[in-house]
Symmetry: C2
Subunit: 335 residues, 2 copies
């Protein structure tokens, strides 16, 4: 049994909290949004996970200090744009032996840091002598499915393999199978960039194209993400793995994905800004574009799908012209 | 303009014949089934490709000799079980400069030969001095989509890169993008084994499992296919490519796939032999099992999904027990 806090009460945080409580851990959920905590305490259900009951054993708190103190594991389950501020807030409570897990996916504009790198930076800013144990948890994991115990696989990635293994042990149960991976940079790169490829996949289906085109976009998408990853020193196997191709498949073929939906609308002819507004929530693929373009340029890597998505979203290129440009590029070898 | 024959008048052969004729090649279609040729000549449509008109320029023949003579390219588009007999039949008409393309996917039981290896063997049996130019064409390519000019990508694979490039030139158009690959063994291995993974994916959805499980099966499926491929001397990039993960995505997520459908029925509780009978056509994944098991044993490679599918189909293990066994294996690293 571990003492675990989940910071953030979105669907993914709550689905994980429920699973960890049901497998005999001592779980506390914290949120910066006071009304979220009130709702969960009162209803024992998350408003977007209606099929799933939150066990009575879960504690709720609005106090960040008590959420961090004396915990074995602290899970950051806030949106990627709040990872830096949350890490800054908790820095003074974190001690050497605690494991910090990040489940948010993204790359920060300008700094080009991944989520675990941001957390590391903020914790070390406060206490340069802290021995950090930071793990990225990523993979093909719809919260809606984990919340009702459907079988799911996930990657526990850390430069510190001992921390990755502790997380593997804690999260493994008959419904969740956990693989470790030391290539945390590769895992996080996949998580941030897959949303751009999902946008492209949506554009293709919006244009009326079929499964052949979707499979091509996913496959050539992971090819260009892995080209960038290799240039950045990551491991090829990561891109072929659950956080890579696995998560990309779930995101680019799911109708529940906001990125896919926004892309679909754009493919049907809705202007990009209007499509994003219609989706009504953050479209992470759009937010990830500046960092992706910057990384491709910095490492001098050919990323035709990412650049075409950027041209459609930010430069007024029509989806049809974009796809035709991709289809009629110079002839290539796969290898 | 090339003189091209398509041997076999199934949906894939006819979709390719139409595309090649529409891009200004001189195309002849042959079938061993006389009634198929009569039907196509009379109706100019394939019975299973109703949206697609066969251009008048295509010639039809029942004479295998005239189908082979003076052609630049001969495409074998027969089912995998007929590849050996067809190659044997055409051997006496084949000359040094002709390119033979195989589009059938499979591995022969006992011999463990791929389709291009069977063709090579039969052609050389007849004429040991023949200079063969054999290409495997494979990828995520629903015939129904190519038949109506939806964007599609494909791999032209050959040990002879010049032949692969000729095929790339001939098949490239605004709707089809062709990548070359010299790792023909890897490409053919993917084509044969993906159907087993599609069976597993069907079993999972039949059990009521969700997208997380499907993505896990596809991802861990390509991991075990690539482990075998690496042991057999293939290139990792092939498995990450269009004929690998690309074709697997199309097969394992499509409701049109017979393998997926058979698996789904089995997951719902229909006994395997009854499920196969209900599908009513060849279920290639079932046929590929003996060769896959033999290869895994021969090269001493861990292929848990393939072995679990075999246990369900041939050894009476229940789908639920099979999935639980996969989920509760020894904890692993991804790499």
């Amino acid at each position: 049994m571990k003492k675990i806090s989940v910071l953030g009460a979105g669907t993914w945080g709550v689905a994980l909290a429920r699973m960890l409580a049901n497998t005999n851990n001592d779980v506390t959920v914290w949120s910066a949004v006071s009304s979220e905590i009130d709702y969960l305490e009162e209803n024992h259900r998350h408003p977007n996970l209606k099929e799933s009951v939150i066990p009575d054993s879960i504690k709720f708190t609005k106090d960040i200090e008590s959420a961090c103190k004396d915990k074995d594991i602290i899970i950051l389950a806030v949106a990627s744009i709040y990872v830096r501020s949350t890490a800054k807030n908790i820095a003074k409570y974190i001690t050497d032996n605690q494991i910090i897990i990040d489940v948010a996916k993204g790359i920060e504009d300008n700094s080009l840091l991944t989520m675990t790198e941001i957390i590391e930076q903020e914790l070390k800013n406060y206490n340069p002598n802290l021995k950090t144990n930071i793990v990225a948890l990523s993979g093909p994991t719809h919260a809606e499915e984990v919340a009702i115990d459907l079988p799911t696989t996930i990657v526990s990635a850390s430069k510190n393999i001992d921390s990755a293994k502790v997380v593997q042990d804690v999260f493994t149960n008959t419904c969740m199978r956990v693989y470790t991976n030391e290539d945390v940079k590769g895992v996080e790169l996949c998580g941030a960039l897959k949303n751009i490829i999902a946008l492209a996949s949506g554009v293709s289906s919006g244009l009326g194209y079929g499964d052949n085109a979707t499979a091509a976009i996913i496959t050539r998408g992971i090819a260009e993400i892995s080209r960038l990853g290799l240039a950045m020193g990551c491991n090829m196997q990561t891109f072929l793995g659950l956080a890579g191709i696995g998560d990309l498949i779930v995101t680019a073929t799911s109708k529940h994905s906001r990125n896919n939906t926004a892309g679909h609308l754009i493919g049907e002819g809705v202007p990009p800004q209007e499509a994003i507004a219609q989706v009504g929530m953050v479209v992470e693929g759009v937010n990830a574009l500046p960092a992706a373009i910057e990384l491709a340029n910095k490492y001098d890597v050919d990323m035709p799908i990412v650049f075409m998505v950027n041209a459609v979203i930010n430069e007024g290129v029509s989806p049809l012209v974009a796809v035709n440009t991709l289809m009629t590029r110079k002839k290539k070898s796969e290898i």
